[in-house]
Amino acid sequence: MTAIPPSELDRPALARGRSAADADLRSVSAAIRRAEFGDRLRSLALAAPLLVLLALSFGIPIVLLLSRAVYDPTIANALPQTSQALSGWSGSGLPDDAAFLALAADLKDNQAKGTAYELAKSLNARLPGARSQVLKTVRQLEGAGDRPPLEVVKSVPFWSQPGTWPAIANGTHAVTSFYLLSALDLRWNADGSIERVPPEQAIFLQVFMRTFFVAAAVTLATLLLGFPLAYLIASAPKGLAAILIVAVLLPFWTSILVRTAAWTVLLQKFGLVNDLLLWLGVVDDRLDLMYSRIGLIIAMTHIQLPFTLLPIYSVMRTIPPSQMKAAYSLGGRPFTAFRRIYLPQVFPGVMAGCLLTFILCLGYYITPALIGGASDQLISNFIANYVNVELNWEMAAALSFILLVFTLALFGIFARILGLDRLKLV
């Protein structure tokens, strides 16, 4: 028997020990993962009803509606033969007679199926004035007797105008950029490039600008009014602070419609505000506060004040009074201490409050509808009009989509500047 050096003996034992320890560690981390997975599953299960509700009532409808901005199969479905006939058309001049014949056949089919009006409306959205022309042609085709359909269609001058057929050809593509471009006052021109619509047709850019201006003005007003109030509440003794907070929140407990209605009472030509201003001698003549931009901004500022104030207040409350005391004792004058110590710390709250109010203002509908004048309607009013009155959901979807993109871009910029984690919304 040869003596084995102890080190030789130990090596396999050590290796065994090490691998056993490794296996042990692995099984521990696997157990931790299993436990965490179970936890996550449980919390997901608890949130599941809400997630399903959100998906069904919010997510899916929004996606479906917004998809209408780029997907509109009405014309393609209504004019299948015309689509076929136009597939070989160069796009300039008039198409050949086959296209006119196909159009006549399609129009007859639509009349038979009862979808002629829908087609007329859809074409009208792209080609102003098309509605009456389509309906007129349909009627003439019906009462034509043995007149050839080609002749009937050609007898309506509309179908021989230069803009008509490109619009129809465009409409036969189900996926379209027409509405999105229209929402930005743009269109495809005959050369296939994008151009601005003529000034007399351009409306939406101006409305978007107006919406952003009103939102910015309201945000600024709520900040100027809300910041000092938030500071007052944050530094007030507990009891008084509670009363002030209730006073700020009180309007929250009445509906926005009621508050807006209250402002219509106050702002009227012979309303309380005008009475008061006249009595105080601030004005010589009654102001037109109702149906004006200024009245709209006043009412929206009132409604939005808590949204700006509360995030600012919640940040202010976290700043201990000793901070300012320290700044003073170190030689900081009140303004310096405010600017260098207080303001940088409440800045995330200010940003959050302003962002909240600004974004909410972009979507205001009731207040501008009731208090604003004809030239104070915001983008939401146009969207509502397209949904409820014009029944042009495609245009409504396109405007909503542009608004959503603007809003998300704005939010992205804020988050980029400040960092999402520093944006103290609550």
């Binding site: 000793s322 005391k325 320290a326 003073y328 170190l330 900081g332 201490a337 110590i341 940088p344 710390q345």
Partner: protein, 388 residues
């Protein structure tokens, strides 16, 4: 106004003969009331000498923090005058007082780095950039945080944060630094370490420090003098050993260190001493500290001044039975129940072995027993001189 940080031993300034040095800070008949009915501070008279480390010690609500806030300029006295280097500071806002202040919650600016925090008092004084950099570096060096300059305060431990606060309060070389329970948020071990560190800074810079705490051991460890506050006034002002050995009233006797208190009634007063009949039986001879014959009194005796009597020992002798024993390593505390039912704590050696119920004889010299009026001794009076 000189705010020079010279390396001068702390004690020498306090004992300097010049009156203005002894009255570096002076409170004269200062009172503070918030509601017009009750006083947070009453009839406060207090002088702080240049270079002194003075501690305001007292339970919460005793007026010590109000006193500090009035000195810092955050509160205005309702009545009375506060002077700083002979000038009244009544109309001087805090940012013109040139007083450094350290807060319990550190009050560091969370949006600034450590360096920017320390640079703040210099930058508001419009000192030029290069000078600020050197002085900030020196201040951070002083509190051994040089390598943490670009961190945020929240990335530091509690002790490090308080050292930053110290550097910030000292960097502009104020001649007076106020500290409002600066170590209150730290754990015991760190607190003891920081006490020594603050004391060293005080000795090194020769700066005057007024320090507020409710921790009596902290006050005794650090201070040149301690003002014990109670009910809005100074119960006693003196050096730590004065307060410990010769308390002037029962509040100070029980607040500073551990004391046995026996309730009784003064039978007669002879010279400095008096004879007290204890409630429930027995009698004791004690030093009379402002007691009148026939009045109720409290007799205070330190546990370490009580002995287990050998038969021949003179002085007070009280028969008792052992009620319990607490082992503390280097010594033991014996609970001795007197015949009248009152219980005394006696400090005995670690080797003593006594069983519960065992009869013992507890003794003490009359000079170690101090009899105070039972109702008085709760401040509100003019600052008293120490000594008997």
């Amino acid at each position: 106004m000189t705010a020079v940080a010279t390396a001068r031993p702390a004690g020498s300034a306090a004992s300097a003969p010049a009156a203005d040095l002894n009255r570096f800070v002076e409170f004269t008949d200062v009172e503070k009331s918030y509601d017009g009915r009750t006083f947070a501070v009453t009839r406060l008279n207090l002088s702080v000498a240049r270079g002194e480390f003075l501690t305001l010690l007292g339970p919460s609500g005793s007026g010590k923090t109000t006193t500090l806030n009035m000195l810092a300029g955050f509160e205005r006295p309702t009545r009375g005058i506060i002077t700083l280097e002979g000038r009244s500071v009544d109309r001087l806002p805090p940012y013109e007082r040139n007083i450094g202040m350290v807060f319990q919650n550190y009050a560091l600016f969370p949006h600034m780095t450590v360096e920017e925090n320390v640079a703040f008092p210099l930058s508001v004084r419009k000192i030029d950039k290069a000078d600020i950099t050197t002085r900030v570096g020196r201040a951070l060096d002083m509190v051994r945080l040089k390598q943490f300059g670009d961190r945020r305060p929240t990335q530091l431990s509690g002790g490090q944060q308080q050292r930053v606060a110290l550097a910030r309060a000292l960097v502009f070389e104020p001649s007076l630094v106020l500290m409002d329970e600066p170590l209150g948020a730290l754990d015991k071990k760190l607190r003891e370490h920081m006490q020594l560190e603050i004391k060293q800074l005080h000795t090194m810079l020769g700066v005057t420090i007024v320090y507020v705490t409710h921790d009596q051991s902290e006050a005794l460890t650090m201070s040149d003098r301690v003002a014990v506050f109670n009910n809005g006034g100074i119960a006693q002002l003196g050096s730590p050993d004065d307060l410990y050995n010769t308390p002037q009233n029962s509040f100070v006797a029980s607040f500073i260190g551990e004391n046995n208190t026996l309730a009784g009634k003064v039978e007669h007063v002879v010279g400095k001493e008096c004879r007290v009949a204890l409630d429930g039986g027995g009698a004791i001879t004690a030093l009379a500290i402002g007691v009148a014959e026939g009045a109720a009194c409290h007799v205070a005796i330190r546990p370490e001044r009580l002995g287990m009597a050998a038969a021949a020992q003179a002085g007070n002798r009280l028969t008792a039975t052992v009620d319990g024993r607490i082992y503390l390593g280097d010594h033991q505390r014996l609970l001795a129940r007197l015949e009248n039912g009152q219980v005394l704590t006696v400090k005995v050696g670690p080797e003593a072995t006594m069983a519960n119920g065992e009869p013992v004889m507890v003794s003490c010299a009359p000079g170690d027993c101090r009899a105070f009026p039972a109702d008085a001794g709760t401040g509100g009076s003019k600052s008293k001189t120490t000594g008997e």
